[in-house]
C-alpha cells in the first residue's frame, strides 16, 4: 500500500491527476470540489468508481464486520458487498447499495477483489475520524480492474490524501445455501433488547444456544458457563418482538467465539432478524442506519456447533 500526501503538486501515479490544491485555499464545498476536478478521461480507465460525501457511511458499516484482516469485495450494479469469513463456519456480509453513494459507476456486471480490511479502514479514517459536525471526510474509491490496486482519494478541509491498497485474487465466498424457502423459524426483534442480552452473555460459555419454538419459551438464548447456566427468554408477545414466525421447535448451539463479533453489528443496528433453517444454520440480519439515515444491511451466517433436538 502506498500513501501519498498530495497537497501541492499533482500525483505522479498514472491516471490520477489532481489539480493543484494549495493549503491556503479554502472552499465551502470541501467535499466535492477537489475530487470532482478529476478529468473525465481518467475515469475511463476505472471499472468501478464510487464516491461518498461522508466516508463514515462506509467505514462505520465495515467496522461491524472487521473480525478478520481480509475481506472480499464484490461490486455489482446494485451496490457493494463486502464479505469476511472465519474458519469456514462464519460469514459476515455488509451491503451498501448503489443509492447510498453520491456517485456509483460500474462498467462490468461483477467486479471482485480481495483486500486487507484493516488497512482499508485505517485509510478511511486517515484524517482521524473526527466527529465535529459539518466536517466529514469525502471519499472517491476507484478500481481499474484485475491486478490493479484500489485507489482511495480522501479529502477533508482542503487536504487530499491518495491511498493505493494492493488487491488480491478474490476467493469464492462460501455459499451457505441459506434460502428463504428453507427457513423454519424467523423472528425480528428490536436491537435494543438484544443488545443488553449480548452484553451480559456469560463469556465463559463456549457456546450460545438458540431455541426457537412456536410454544414456550418461544425465543431463548442460553449460555453454559463455569458458574452455571443462563437463559434469556423473549416472549412472542413482547413489544420488542416485531415479527414472530416459528413453525417448529429447534434448538441449536453455535460457538460463542464465532458469534461474538456480531455484537458490533448489533450495536449499530436498530432491528435484527434471526432465522434458522432446517439444518440449523443461523442467519442474523441487521438493519443499520447510517449517519444520513439511509439503510444498509449487515448479515451473519453461522454453522451450528452440534445438533440438539
Amino acid at each position: 500500500m502506498t500513501v501519498e500526501e498530495d497537497e501541492n503538486g499533482s500525483c505522479d501515479t498514472p491516471g490520477a491527476i489532481l489539480q493543484n490544491i494549495r493549503p491556503t485555499r479554502r472552499s465551502t464545498t470541501f467535499a466535492t470540489m477537489p475530487l470532482s476536478t478529476q478529468s473525465q478521461a481518467d475515469d475511463e480507465q476505472y471499472v468501478l468508481v464510487a464516491s461518498l460525501d461522508n466516508a463514515r457511511n462506509l467505514s462505520n458499516i465495515l467496522k461491524a464486520i472487521t473480525f478478520k484482516d481480509h475481506a472480499i469485495f464484490t461490486a455489482t450494479p446494485n451496490g457493494l458487498k463486502v464479505t469476511v469469513e472465519d474458519s469456514k463456519c462464519l460469514q459476515a456480509n455488509a451491503f451498501i447499495q448503489a443509492e447510498i453513494f453520491q456517485e456509483y459507476t460500474i462498467k462490468e456486471d461483477l467486479v471482485g477483489f480481495q483486500i486487507n480490511l484493516t488497512v482499508l479502514l485505517d485509510c478511511l479514517n486517515i484524517f482521524g475520524g473526527s466527529t465535529v459536525p459539518g466536517v466529514s471526510t469525502a471519499l472517491r474509491m476507484c478500481y481499474r480492474g484485475y491486478g490493479y490496486p484500489l485507489t482511495l482519494f480522501l479529502e477533508e478541509a482542503g487536504v487530499v490524501t491518495v491511498c493505493k491498497i494492493n488487491t488480491q485474487e478474490p476467493e469464492e465466498p462460501i455459499d451457505f445455501e441459506f434460502c428463504s424457502n428453507n427457513v423454519t423459524n424467523k423472528v425480528i426483534l428490536q436491537s435494543e433488547s438484544l443488545k443488553e442480552a449480548f452484553s451480559e452473555l456469560d463469556m465463559t460459555s463456549e457456546v450460545l444456544q438458540i431455541t426457537m419454538s412456536p410454544s414456550q419459551p418461544y425465543f431463548r438464548l442460553s449460555t453454559f458457563g463455569s458458574s452455571g447456566n443462563a437463559h434469556y427468554d423473549y416472549s412472542k408477545d413482547s413489544d420488542m418482538m416485531e415479527l414472530f414466525r416459528c413453525t417448529k421447535t429447534q434448538t441449536n448451539r453455535y460457538k460463542m467465539s464465532l458469534l461474538k463479533p456480531s455484537t458490533k453489528a448489533l450495536a449499530l443496528s436498530c432491528k435484527v432478524s434471526v432465522r434458522t433453517d432446517s439444518r440449523g444454520f443461523l442467519s442474523l440480519q441487521y438493519l443499520v442506519r447510517n449517519d444520513d439515515g439511509q439503510i444498509c444491511f449487515v448479515e451473519y451466517y453461522c454453522c451450528p456447533d452440534e445438533e440438539v433436538d
Binding site: S193, E196, N229, Y234, M240
Partner: protein
C-alpha cells in the same frame, strides 16, 4: 427456599451484593425463618459482613420443605464473581426489572435467580453453589462501651477525604470529639504521605456514647461498601466499639444499619500496634492506665495540639496518654470508673503463658482476626483447633442463638499472635 422481590427491592439486594463483594470472594446464602441472610468474610478473616433481609422485604418468602424431614433449609455458599455480574448494572435493573425470583431447591446444586423484565423478557440464571454450614460472627454489641449513631451521609462524607488507596484508618473517640485519621505502619511513611484528620463534634451524631476513650484502627476499604449502601438508603450508621483495654485484647468494631425490613452489619478486626506494649507493661491483667496508648504513641503529638478547635481539656488528656508509655500516668477519675464496667472479665483474658511471647516479639503489628469455623453446634469445646483456648463455639443456626450466652470469648492460637474471637450475632443482641 423460594422468594420473590419486587423491582425496587432488587436494586437494594444488588447493592447489598456489591457491598459484600468488597469484603470477600464468597457469598453465604442462609434462608432462615427470620429472613434471608447474605454473608461474606474475607480471606484473612478480619472482616465479616451480613445483610439480613426480613420476610417483609420480599413480596413472597417461603422456606419450602423445612417441615417434612425436619431438616434445616439449605445453606449455600456461592462464588461472588458468579453472582455480582447479574446485579452489576443497577441502573439497568432499576429500569427493566419488574420482579426477581430467587429459589434454592434441594435436589439440584443451583440457585435460580430469575429476573422478570419489561417487554416480556425473562432472564434466568442458575448459579452453582456448595452446601455449607452457615457462616456467622457473634458480636456482643450491647457490651460495647462506645456507641455512635451517625446520620446517613456523615461517615460516607468523612471517608471521601481519604484516598481510595488508603488501607486503614483510625477512629478516635473521646467524650468531646470523634475523629478519623489515616493510619500508617512504620515511621518512614509519615514523611512521604499526606496525613488527613477529620474531627467531629458529638452533636453531629444522632446518638453519642463514649464510655471509654479509644483509638481503633480498622480497614477502610472493607467498610466502604456498607457506607455506600447506607447512603443510598438514607440509613444512619451505628458504630459499636470498645477500647483496647489491655495490651493483648483487641476488640473488633461493628458498623451496622437497619430499617424495618433489613439489617446490615460489618464487623471489622482492629489493629493493635505491639510497639506500644513494651516489656515493662504488665501482661496478666488489663492495665487501666493504658486504654488509649495503642495508637496515640505512634502519632506525632504535635498534630494533636495544632488543632485550634480542641478544647483545652482534650489537649491535656492527649498529652497524658502519649506520655503513658514512659511513665505511670494519673488517670482522670472517669476513665478509671468505666473500665471495670465494660464486662470484660479478666478471666477471659489471654492465658498468661501466651502473653509473654507476644509482648516480647519485635515491634510488629498484630492483627486481631475473627475466625469463623464451621463447627456444628454439638462439637465439644475441647475439640476446637489445637492450642485454642476458646471457651465457647459460635452458634450454627438460629435456634441455638437464643440460648447463647451474650458474651464474647477469646483465645490465642499461635506464637505470632493470631487472635480468635467469637461474637454473638449483632442483630439478635442489639437492644436499643
Amino acid at each position: 427456599m423460594d422468594c420473590v422481590l419486587d423491582g425496587n427491592c432488587v436494586k437494594a439486594f444488588g447493592k447489598a451484593i456489591h457491598a459484600l463483594s468488597r469484603i470477600g470472594d464468597e457469598l453465604w446464602l442462609d434462608p432462615m425463618v427470620r429472613g434471608l441472610a447474605l454473608r461474606s468474610v474475607n480471606s484473612a478473616h478480619s472482616a465479616y459482613a451480613c445483610f439480613l433481609f426480613s420476610p417483609l422485604f420480599f413480596q413472597q418468602y417461603n422456606l419450602g420443605s423445612v417441615s417434612e424431614e425436619g431438616n434445616e433449609t439449605i445453606k449455600c455458599k456461592l462464588v461472588i464473581k458468579s453472582v455480582l455480574p447479574l446485579f452489576r448494572c443497577l441502573s439497568s435493573i432499576e429500569r427493566n426489572v419488574k420482579r426477581c425470583q430467587i429459589s434454592i431447591s434441594a435436589p439440584c446444586d443451583r440457585v435460580m435467580i430469575r429476573f422478570f423484565c419489561r417487554h416480556g423478557i425473562t432472564k434466568t440464571h442458575n448459579v452453582r453453589f456448595q452446601e455449607s454450614e452457615a457462616l456467622q460472627a457473634v458480636f456482643a454489641s450491647h457490651l460495647c462501651p462506645n456507641v455512635l449513631k451517625a446520620p446517613a451521609r456523615l461517615l460516607g462524607d468523612m471517608v471521601t477525604h481519604f484516598p481510595v488507596s488508603q488501607e486503614e484508618i483510625t477512629l478516635s473517640m473521646t467524650s468531646l470529639r470523634v475523629s478519623l485519621r489515616n493510619y500508617f505502619e512504620g515511621a518512614k511513611d509519615h514523611i512521604k504521605t499526606m496525613h488527613t484528620e477529620i474531627s467531629l463534634h458529638p452533636e453531629e451524631f444522632d446518638y453519642f456514647q463514649v464510655g471509654v476513650d479509644s483509638d481503633i484502627t480498622f480497614c477502610l476499604k472493607e467498610l466502604r461498601g456498607l457506607l455506600a449502601f447506607a447512603e443510598s438508603h438514607c440509613l444512619p450508621v451505628s458504630v459499636h466499639s470498645s477500647a483496647t483495654g489491655s495490651c493483648v485484647v483487641c476488640r473488633p468494631v461493628c458498623f451496622s444499619v437497619e430499617d424495618m425490613v433489613l439489617e446490615a452489619t460489618v464487623v471489622l478486626a482492629t489493629l493493635i500496634d505491639s510497639e506500644i506494649r513494651g516489656p515493662s507493661q504488665p501482661t496478666e491483667t488489663p492495665v487501666p492506665t493504658t486504654p488509649r496508648c495503642v495508637h496515640a504513641a505512634t502519632l506525632p503529638v504535635g498534630s494533636c495540639e495544632a488543632r485550634s478547635n480542641i478544647p483545652h481539656d482534650i489537649t491535656a488528656v492527649t498529652e497524658l496518654v502519649t506520655s503513658s508509655q514512659d511513665s505511670p500516668i494519673i488517670n482522670p477519675p472517669a476513665l478509671m470508673q468505666l473500665l471495670p464496667q465494660t464486662d470484660i472479665p479478666n478471666e477471659f483474658c489471654v492465658p498468661d503463658a501466651a502473653c509473654p511471647s507476644t509482648s516480647t516479639t519485635p515491634a510488629s503489628t498484630v492483627i486481631c482476626s475473627l475466625l469463623f469455623r464451621a463447627l456444628s453446634s454439638d462439637e465439644d469445646d475441647d475439640s476446637c483447633a489445637a492450642g485454642l483456648n476458646v471457651l465457647a463455639c459460635y452458634s450454627d443456626g438460629e435456634e441455638t442463638m437464643e440460648d447463647y450466652p451474650r458474651s464474647f470469648l477469646l483465645g490465642e492460637v499461635t506464637q505470632d499472635a493470631l487472635h480468635i474471637l467469637t461474637f454473638c450475632d449483632v442483630a439478635q443482641s442489639r437492644s436499643k
